[in-house]
């Protein structure tokens, strides 16, 4: 059965992920801040087939919730509604736009470990190391020679399995990383992975050079 997906955030990244989720055949809900009639228009144009909803409502009816809001607005995410869901952190700390956020500034942990702490739920890190235009442009069927890879970093095996299936269905080769803290290498400025749009082989060799081994199976 197809996992039901909710995307929290109807900005640059959220609308692309909702579109890819619909294209992957997943029942998809999307929530955004601001005027609900604007959200209706945005979804109609950019992610037709996704259902605009309020955040808590979208999360409550989904199996997988992708959080794609600016980190500065993380407190607007209805964290209570995330309990019991597979939660994906697709966000990055980006000071030129977000401003300096004390929780993330100078952190030596993965930004997703901080997100986990603030939301109070387990998270899986994915979708963060490709740009939103590139996510949109690089979807390919399984086995295509130029298919791009998306790392999926997490602690919980079942949650990682659900996300790797979604990543694959959206048109990317999933590369599982364990534990969640390993995902630090996927962040802006941490390595050459961020923004590089790598194939699976390229991502594996870049990880190898960094001394990071992919999880052989989801634990």
């Amino acid at each position: 059965m197809s996992a039901r997906v909710a995307v929290l955030g109807a900005g640059k990244v959220g609308t692309v992920l909702a579109r890819l989720s619909v294209a992957a055949g997943r029942p998809t809900a999307i929530a955004g801040s601001g005027d609900p009639s604007d959200l209706g228009l945005i979804v109609d144009v950019l992610a037709p087939g996704a259902v605009p909803m309020r955040g808590a409502e979208a999360a409550a009816q989904a199996d997988i919730v992708i959080v794609a809001v600016p980190l500065a607005r993380l407190e607007t995410v209805p964290s209570a509604a995330l309990r019991g869901r597979v939660v994906v952190d697709a966000m990055n700390y980006w000071p030129p736009v977000d401003g300096v956020l004390p929780e993330w500034e100078g952190a030596t942990r993965s930004s997703s470990e901080i997100v986990r702490e603030i939301l109070g739920v387990d998270v899986v890190k994915s979708f963060n190391h490709m740009g939103y235009h590139e996510l949109d442009a690089w979807t390919r069927p399984s086995g295509a020679p130029d298919r791009r890879a998306l790392a999926v970093a997490g602690d919980d095996g079942a949650a990682m399995t659900a996300v790797t299936e979604l990543v694959d269905a959206m048109g990317f080769d999933p590369v599982p990383l364990h534990p969640l803290s390993t995902g630090r290498v996927l962040q802006p400025g941490s390595s050459d992975i961020f923004g590089a749009d790598l194939t699976r082989a390229e991502l594996l060799s870049t990880l190898d050079a960094l001394g990071v081994a992919p999880a052989t199976a989801c634990p």
Binding site: A10, G11, K12, T15, G32, G34, D38, L41, I42, V45, L46, A72, W94, P95, P96, V97, D98, G99, Y132, H133, D136, A137, P188, G189, D192, F194, G195, A196, D197
Partner: protein
């Protein structure tokens, strides 16, 4: 189709005085060579010379005749729209009706700290101030009330622009909500595009649908686009000459801490970055026009602190070999 240039006045290795003198000379050349627009950015960082574009535009207005004088962009969230209007209405009078504004949120956030604004108010600051600026541009006296500045009651805002209404474009990146806002307000929209223009089709469609749902005449809507640009004599030469400056420039982003890798640069060019021979740049601008229906393209023509001589050559190729062909093909 209008063609023009924009710059943030990248500091490079020359003095500020020299940088500004070069810029005024380049603007003068652009005017004489028949380009339609020059637009100046507003940044509050040491790597850019321009934080007060209206002053430099006033200097440019005194040595040019036809070229339109715009910002790219005015960081409206941390400015007072009444003061911004007064400055550009003055520029409009001085220049014989050539002033324009692109109002935007900017790619950086330094101005919030400098002028005492709270970054958490980002959204409401821009939204309220844009509405007020459009209101002031339309008519005076103005009565207005909001959260982000003191109310105005029958306030007279002078001088008035020479043009019947001072053009105020809304600058957008990729945020869908920004396109909806521009459309609902019926303002012309300027889209920043650095690589593939195709994803911006959704932004333009959102803009047009939001405008039509708000009752704005589609014939009155304008879309412009712009991004980094370098024109060289040959395709390979252009790529090689421009790369070190671009790599350094983008190295300021968190994305490329060690500078932009050459493979990524080549990939961006394949995807649509306007770096290449005159013919390649012509094709890429025409692609923007076909996909997005733009009626104006402006290229950021002196990225990364390139030496003035190198900027001048690229500018000359743009003005003499790119612009005339694009105008003809789009006529």
């Amino acid at each position: 189709m209008e063609l023009g240039i924009y710059t943030f006045g990248d500091t490079g290795t020359v003095t500020t005085r020299q940088r500004l003198a070069d810029l005024v000379a380049q603007a003068r050349y652009a005017d004489e060579a028949g380009l339609d627009v020059i637009a100046l950015g507003e940044h509050h960082r040491a790597d850019f010379t321009l934080s007060a574009p209206e002053i430099v535009l006033a200097a440019i207005s005194s040595v040019t005749k036809r070229i339109r004088l715009s910002t790219a962009v005015t960081v409206l969230s941390t400015a007072d729209p009444v003061r911004v209007y007064q400055q550009f209405a003055t520029l409009d009078q001085l220049s014989g009706g050539r002033a324009e504004i692109i109002a935007g949120r900017g790619a950086f956030t330094e101005s919030f700290g400098l002028f005492g604004y709270d970054l958490r108010e980002y959204e409401v600051l821009f939204d309220e101030k844009l509405r007020l600026l459009l209101e002031v541009a339309r008519s005076s006296p103005v009565t207005w009330q909001g959260r982000t500045r003191p109310p105005l009651s029958d306030a007279v805002v002078t001088p008035r622009a020479l043009q019947p209404v001072l053009p105020v474009w809304v600058g957008v990146g990729g945020t869908p909500q920004s396109a909806v806002r521009a459309g609902r307000l019926g303002a012309p929209m300027f889209v920043a595009i650095f690589t593939d223009p195709a994803p911006a089709r959704g932004m333009v469609e959102l803009y047009r649908r939001a405008a039509s749902s708000a009752g704005h005449d589609p014939a009155g809507l304008r879309v412009g686009s712009g991004g980094h640009m370098y024109v060289g004599r040959t395709s390979q030469g252009a790529r090689d000459e421009f790369y070190p400056y671009y790599a350094e420039y983008l190295g300021k982003l968190p994305q490329f801490p060690g500078g932009m890798p050459r493979e990524v640069y080549d990939q961006w060019i394949r995807a649509g970055l306007l770096v290449g021979s005159p013919q390649e740049v012509i094709d890429k601008i025409m692609n923007h026009r076909e996909l997005l229906g733009i009626s104006r393209y402006v290229g950021q023509f002196d990225v990364g602190g390139m030496p003035a001589g190198m900027v001048d050559k690229s500018l000359e190729l743009f003005a003499t070999e790119v612009a005339p062909v694009v105008r003809k093909e789009s006529a």
